[in-house]
């Protein structure tokens, strides 16, 4: 089976190279047949990648340890759900996932454009084929996921326990879908530059793909944050880790791209800027993959010292230099006819929003690569931490949220003073009332940035509500519908516009959660014996009793031993019971002893969070099992050669001992206000994006009519 997988990769590489060659030949020689052949070759690559993935996944599901990847990333006692996800927990498997998604996306876009963009599409095909070819080459030459072991082990190493969380199942594929998706508009932009067709055609053809990529990347980032909050035992959702930053950067520039292409579509301006943005987005997506793969910056995510860092860097360098040279050589074609009429216009605000988004990306880039920059400049490796990131990104985030409110209210070309007054009267008043109410009734003023953010959030939400109300009222007057139907029709007929507004509202809600939870959370770390209590924020928490279980896998992650605690949290009259715990996974290290290895391996926190709209109570426990050590040592000496069943009884006895006389355990409790709104805002954002992506019925109708018209025209001309 591994042979089949390797063969798929090799044939896939050759097919991709053929696709590139045939498309370029077809474009230059004007051969439709060659172009079609190149396109079909891409479909073939997709088929081959699907086959390769099926081969690998079935090896994971069968626990076939003759596959090196399976032996290293899975085991028979890894739950099935996680066997399925183990593929992308490894470097080679992630490359295959990239190639799979890349070929599927490419096939989809080439199928959709098979009858349009006759000049641009062949070149785009070639670019897509080369990108897919690069990933295939990496696998064929250096990191083959189908490497087999001559002597397969009886048991695999198992999936890293930290990755055993449902969010991890979908987080990496979503991020990758986002990264890969941006290569579609990139390829078409390059194609458009090559054939000097720099109008908005390539944008119209790939806009939806950019939106899909953006949505997946957003969802992937949100899930990553959720995983960090609910699985990693530190209680935060964002740590400015290089890998987190790597996913945020292409998203920010992609956001700028999605906004500024509207200016090109409407007014034919910002052409150079748009192609530059999409090149930057693509390069940053590659860089994101590279950062995870290369281990160049220290991060828990980096897959250790990698063999493919140089190759990635070379490919990124080629992409940057090639695209830049191409853009420079086409500057004359990219000149726009229109000029900015006024600074008080939609296009001017789009430009400002772009500058802020790109500025944010530059700042994050600088901080992420600071260790390298500093080493190059001063010879000393130094780094900047989360406080620096928070300080420099906060003002930019504030401006961004304010722009999310102002932008949609300013008309294209030029705004009139009276029009602006009319649009902003209500939102500004609501913002002022919010400000007064917050200062009067809450202690928000303790954190000025948070207070400003709350006001801007109110501004955005009012603007969006006002726009919806105005549009609905207009539809009611025109069509005479009752208002729920008018609202539905309004959104359905202007999906891009109102979907976009919903995304703005989602962002505002998200930042409400971010500002409130980062400025006003109260974190308490204590060490307690059973029966003792402590205060965490507004809660009185009592450590009621320890828990210790063997073989009762409550979290579904396959951990044999779980130590934990029962906590009772009281806030006013409300009492809640929480069960934070810690999973202990057996170590594969033989030196730890047959019984000791069950206590010496990886351990992960299973935090217990009481989610709430007003506040979350987040708790984690770190049981101290040092006092069990003498007993474990003794058991290792006595029962080293005993049967499995005897050893199981001994382990159960040791675990039982913890429950009966538990030493003090360390706890962390966080009283975090409004943090749930981050996830709610994220969900609203995704919903808005989906509305914007969904094809409207009219567009489908138009397409059908145009195909019909084209056919009619063809028949008429042949007649």
């Amino acid at each position: 089976m591994a042979g089949l997988g390797s063969a798929c990769l090799l044939v896939g590489l050759l097919t991709a190279l053929y696709a590139a060659g045939a498309s370029v030949y077809g474009a230059r020689a004007g051969s439709r047949a060659a172009v079609a052949s190149g396109r079909r070759a891409i479909y073939c690559v997709a088929g081959l990648m699907v086959t390769a993935t099926v081969v690998l996944q079935s090896a994971f599901l069968r626990s076939d340890f003759s596959f090196q990847l399976v032996a290293e990333g899975s085991s028979t006692d890894t739950p099935t759900f996680y066997k399925f996800t183990a593929m992308w927990a490894t470097q080679d498997g992630s490359l295959l996932l990239w190639a799979l998604l890349m070929s599927l996306f490419s096939s989809a876009v080439l199928f959709a454009t098979r009858r349009s963009l006759r000049d641009i599409a062949p070149w785009a095909t070639a670019v897509l084929a080369l990108v897919a070819g690069f990933f295939l080459l990496l696998m064929v030459a250096w990191e083959n996921p189908f490497t087999t072991l001559a002597s397969p082990p009886a048991e695999g190493a198992g999936l890293n326990p930290l990755l055993r969380h449902p969010a991890m199942m979908i987080h990496p594929p979503m991020l990758y879908t986002g990264y890969v998706g941006f290569s579609i508009p990139f390829a078409f932009a390059i194609g458009a530059l090559i054939v000097r067709q720099t109008g908005a055609d390539w944008i119209r053809a790939t806009r939806r793909f950019a939106l899909i990529a953006w949505t997946f990347l957003a969802a992937g980032i949100m899930l990553g944050a959720l995983w960090s909050y609910a699985e990693l035992g530190w209680g935060g959702y964002w740590a400015w880790d290089p890998v987190e930053n790597a996913s945020l950067m292409p998203w920010l520039v992609g956001t700028a791209f999605i906004h500024s292409i509207m200016v090109q579509e409407k007014r034919g301006m910002l052409k150079v800027w748009n192609v530059s943005l999409i090149v930057a987005t693509f390069v940053l997506a590659l860089l994101g993959t590279f950062l995870v793969r290369s281990g160049i910056l220290d991060s828990i995510h980096a897959f250790g010292a990698s063999t493919i860092g140089k190759q990635f860097l070379t490919f990124i360098a080629i992409a940057i230099l090639g695209s830049t040279a191409l853009i420079v050589s086409r500057l004359d074609d990219l000149r726009s006819r229109a000029k900015l009429d006024s600074l008080m216009s939609r296009e001017a605000f789009f430009l400002v929003n772009n500058l802020v988004l790109v500025g944010l990306c530059v700042v994050i880039f600088w901080g992420t690569f600071f260790p390298l920059i500093s080493e190059a400049l001063s010879g000393e490796e130094a780094s900047v931490g989360p406080p620096w990131f928070n300080r420099v990104t906060t003002p930019l985030a504030l401006v961004l949220v304010a722009l999310a409110a102002i932008g949609p209210m300013v008309p294209w070309r030029r705004a009139s003073r009276s029009g602006l007054m009319r649009s902003f009267r209500l939102p500004i008043s609501v913002m002022a009332v919010t400000l007064v109410a917050l200062v009067a009734f809450t202690d928000s003023a303790d954190s000025p940035p948070a207070l400003v953010m709350f006001c801007f959030v109110a501004l955005v939400l009012t603007v969006v509500a006002q726009e919806l109300a105005r549009g609905t009222a207009a539809r009611r007057t025109i069509a005479g519908d009752p208002w729920p139907r008018a609202l539905g029709q309004l959104i359905a007929r202007n999906r891009r516009r109102y979907g976009g507004y919903l995304v703005h509202a989602g962002i505002a809600v998200l930042f409400l959660g971010v500002a409130a939870s980062s400025a006003f959370d109260q974190q308490t770390d204590v060490r307690l014996s059973p029966g003792e209590s402590f205060e965490a924020g507004g809660y009185d928490i009592t450590y009621v009793r320890p828990t210790a279980e063997v073989g009762r896998d409550t979290s579904g992650t396959g951990a044999p031993i779980v130590f934990g605690a029962v906590l009772r949290a009281r806030r006013g009259d409300a009492v809640q019971t929480l069960h934070p715990s810690r999973n202990f996974y057996p170590s594969q290290n033989a030196e730890a002893g047959p019984i000791g290895r069950f206590f010496e391996g990886e351990a992960t926190s299973e935090v217990d969070v009481r989610w709430g709209l007003r506040r979350d109570l987040w708790t984690a426990v770190r049981p101290d099992i040092a006092e069990l050590e003498p007993a474990i040592r003794e058991a290792d000496a006595k029962f080293a050669d005993a049967g499995d069943d005897v050893q199981a009884i001994v382990i159960a006895a040791i675990v039982e001992r913890y429950r009966e006389q538990a030493p003090p355990a360390s706890f962390r409790a966080i009283d975090s206000p409004l943090v749930s709104w981050i996830w709610i805002g994220g969900a609203i954002m995704i919903l808005g994006a989906l509305i914007a992506i969904w094809p409207s019925p009219e567009a489908r109708m138009r397409r059908v009519t145009s195909i019909y018209a084209a056919k009619l025209g063809k028949e008429l001309s042949s007649a």
Binding site: A89, L162, S299, G304, V384, D525
Partner: protein
Amino acid sequence: MDPRRKRKLRLFVALSAAVLLAGALVYTSFSASTQAKEPSDLLAAAEPGRSYELTGKVVDDSVDRDGERLTFRIRDRDGRESLPVTYSGVVPDPFREGREVIVSGELKQGTFVAERDSLITKCPSKFTKDEQSA
């Protein structure tokens, strides 16, 4: 003002704003950064009162927990020189003897006193195949 001069002025204002912001970025990042050092670097020359980021491997059998406080020794990645560290706060899940860690703090009388919650562990061995045997 004629439009050409206006455009030039706009460009000038935008460029100077960009330069100012870039300068601020460089300045704040260098002043907020902490230098990464290995134990031997700090033993050779450490400025008192300066904050450093200490990287290295946790020495085997050196980890000791006393209530809230964790003490251990960090040694050079490829060397023997080591420094004692005192730390309090959250210990990351993958923290183990022999693993690479990063911790921020300052050197006080021969002991590296770490800031609360500043301990970071590098990737756990199961992520990579190279370290699997280690």
